[in-house]
């Protein structure tokens, strides 16, 4: 390098981007990281790759360490144990600091869609999602169950899950933080719209393949489904509260019935009225208490900000950055200049 020179930055106004990639059994391809890094460098001022090593085996950990030694702008967060794939994405959203956060797998056929998606950001969208026209291949039973579940989810939360699933998800920083801090974050990253106030656009690209299906096993799928439904909606607790209230009302009615029988029927067994009134009275009190407690629990639940529990046991960073000698000087077109190497500066 002989002195300051211009470096390309077509999207000077686009700010910085963090690309979140979840790594499990296979480390990301170095060539793909390089080509995506170059493509993103032309579209954003700064790029970082946030790799969430989700309870990876030793071989993958070593490969990731080698990647940070060879490639720029990579941060690897090693999670102590394997967590759900979607939750691992949320760890990435939680740790990424770019103005934009991109969730995707690094496939070269997605780069064209990426450029198009970024071009749409100029219209003011805070969420831009690219989907293809093909659903993932699951067994017919799983597909039917999934469809039913998503319908139930939409009924209870009012939020629709994207089908086919997203191939590229680009969130503005405020959106990424909202998702990371939401108790239903795992489902929000599957949805086309996130929340009021975040303009979103879903762009469809024929032939754009979704990520391959991830089979959690029947037990895992059911557990995740129940967990998501319970954490996304207060409906189950509200239902329990209503059932308790209904039980209380029925107990009260039954008490009146018992009194009526005692007053109108001549052959009532001795002790029946006392016992029945005692039982129905207790039921009424317990139901009322349960309904009140359920409402208080609901209030407490809504007042607590959700915190996901995960442990990052180790963190690695690339030894070099893509633009280490970039001066903080731009020309009229927003192109940054490179400076002299450190050892040559006075």
């Amino acid at each position: 390098m002989t002195g300051p020179e211009a470096i390309p930055s077509a999207g000077a106004s686009a700010g910085s981007v963090s690309v979140v990639i979840v790594v499990e059994e296979t480390p990301p391809d170095a060539a793909a990281l390089t080509s995506w890094g170059e493509a993103l460098a032309a579209l954003f001022n700064d790029t970082e790759f946030v790799l969430i090593a989700n309870g990876v085996p030793s071989g993958v950990a070593l490969a990731l360490e080698a990647l940070t030694g060879n490639l720029p702008d990579i941060t690897v967060h090693f999670l102590a144990e394997r967590i759900d794939h979607d939750t691992a994405y949320l760890v990435g959203l939680d740790t990424a600091v770019g103005d934009w956060v991109l969730l995707t797998e690094l496939r070269t056929d997605r780069l064209r869609a990426l450029r198009d998606v970024i071009a749409r950001l100029a219209e003011g969208y805070q969420v831009a999602i690219a989907v293809g026209d093909e659903s993932r291949e699951h067994s017919p039973i799983y597909s039917v169950l999934a469809r039913l579940y998503f319908r139930l989810y939409r009924l209870s939360t009012g939020r629709a899950v994207l089908v086919p699933p997203a191939a590229l998800r680009l969130y503005a920083r405020a959106v990424a933080l909202y998702i990371a801090g939401s108790s239903e974050g795992e489902m929000l990253i599957k949805a086309g719209s996130i929340a009021g106030g975040f303009p979103a656009v879903v762009l469809r690209y024929p032939g754009l393949a979704a990520d391959p299906p991830r089979w959690r096993g029947l037990r895992g799928s059911i557990a995740k489904g129940v967990h998501e439904l319970l954490s996304a909606s207060a409906l189950p607790l509200r239902m329990a509260s209503l059932v308790a209230l209904a039980t209380g009302v029925l107990s009260l009615l039954y008490s009146l019935y018992v009194v009526g029988v005692y007053m109108l029927k001549p052959d009532v067994l001795q002790g029946w009225t006392t016992l029945s009134l005692q039982i129905s009275g207790m039921m009424f009190l317990f139901s009322l208490l349960f309904a009140l407690m359920a409402e208080y629990v609901l209030g407490i639940y809504r007042g607590i900000s959700p915190r996901r529990r995960y442990v990052i046991v180790r963190e690695l960073r690339s030894r070099r950055q893509r633009q280490p000698d970039r001066l903080n000087v731009v020309d009229g077109s927003g192109v940054f200049r490179l400076g002299m190497p450190v050892e040559n500066t006075p």
Binding site: G3, G15, T75, D94, E315, N328, V329, G332, G339, M340
Partner: protein
């Protein structure tokens, strides 16, 4: 067609702010014989170089713009060493991360580690300054403030020693330009210069140069306060979304207070627009600030400084605050410079040192 007459001077720099003064000095160092530095004010460093938070950046301010952060971090030690006479250290600089901030506490700590900037969680007695419902974590960082008056005194002496002709109370304008130089007027008197530098900051698009890079201007208020004794020796910055800052302001021996919502009074893009008169918002700044730092209620307002701030429209949405170095489309010998942070001056000097002056 008549040929333009040879230049009267090698270069004219319009605008004697921190960047304008350093450019004039650098041009002399590069061998230009006659360099004129003109400013419409009666002294140097009277406007944006003075009316700001007086913060010497060490990168902490830019967790979402690693480029700007790493340059600030790299320039910080050099700036402090070369301007030690104007540096006010010896105070605890605290960056407090608000809940629902655009950058979380763990993210801020990770970011500091990534640019190798020292940062540690604040001790309990400082933590008590903040409302724990609104502030997540507070970090003690290594940041200092500068005394603009001391910088001005130093630069005045250096300009004189370097032989830069300083013309104060002189309004400069670039009337025309051609490949060989620029025709200017200084207080109406014509002058031809081999090179013309437009360093007028908020007047960058108002001295006869058409900019390719549009500017957004804001009428900004920096309040000056006498904080309660608990803030003695403390500078606080609350990040990021809700954002305000109270820092020592050495030039007036008090604290400055700026607030993301109340510091900008008006904003405009059209160069022909101008700020309208306005009332101080220091009460609002103090009231909102006191939500996060209750002891701020006991601060006493001393007055406010107002000036027009300029930012590049292209970087308004992100955190980056680069220096603009733009050659005019009419002549490459007319260069507009919009400085951002004074500690980034070395990046500009690097560009000047390797510029094609032929």
């Amino acid at each position: 067609m008549s040929r333009p007459h040879p230049p009267d001077v090698d270069a004219v720099v319009i605008g004697a702010g921190f960047f304008g003064c350093h450019i004039a000095l650098e041009l002399r160092r590069l061998g230009m014989e006659r360099v004129i530095l003109a400013d419409r004010e009666a002294g140097i460093l009277r406007r944006a170089s003075y009316v700001n938070q007086a913060r010497v950046h060490n990168g902490y301010h830019y967790p979402r713009s690693l480029g700007t952060a790493s340059r600030s971090r790299r320039n910080f030690p050099r700036f402090c060493a070369e301007h030690s006479f104007a540096i006010t250290g010896g105070f605890e600089s605290i960056y407090a991360i608000a809940r629902h901030s655009l950058v979380g506490a763990s993210q801020f700590a990770a970011f500091c580690a990534s640019i190798d900037a020292p940062c540690r969680e604040s001790p309990a007695h400082l933590r008590r300054l903040f409302d724990s419902d609104l502030v997540d974590t507070a970090f003690i960082v290594n940041e200092v403030a500068f005394d603009a008056a001391a910088l001005a005194d130093d630069l005045l002496a250096r300009l004189s020693a370097a032989g830069v002709e300083l013309r104060l109370s002189t309004a400069g304008r670039i009337e025309a330009a051609d490949p060989a130089g620029a025709d200017l007027s200084l207080n109406g008197s014509p002058l031809r210069a081999g090179w013309a530098f437009n360093c007028t900051y908020a007047a960058l698009d108002d001295v006869g140069v058409r900019l390719a890079c549009p500017l957004k201007k804001e009428l900004a208020e920096i309040a000056l306060i006498l904080p309660s004794p608990v803030f003695a020796g403390i500078g606080v910055t609350i990040m990021d979304g809700p954002f305000f800052s109270t820092m020592p302001f050495p030039a007036r021996k008090c604290h400055s207070l700026s607030h993301v919502r109340y510091t900008p009074h008006a904003a405009w893009i059209d160069p022909n627009e101008a700020a309208t008169s306005t009332h101080s918002r220091v009460t609002k700044m103090l009231r909102d600030g006191a939500r996060y730092m209750p002891p701020l209620t006991r601060a006493r307002p001393l007055g406010s400084l107002y000036d027009v701030k300029a930012v590049l429209l292209s970087t308004e949405r992100d955190d980056a605050r680069p220096i603009l170095f733009e050659s005019s489309a009419v002549s490459r010998r007319v260069i507009s410079v919009l400085g951002a942070k004074i500690d980034n001056i070395y990046d500009l000097l690097d560009v000047l040192a390797h510029h094609d002056w032929s």
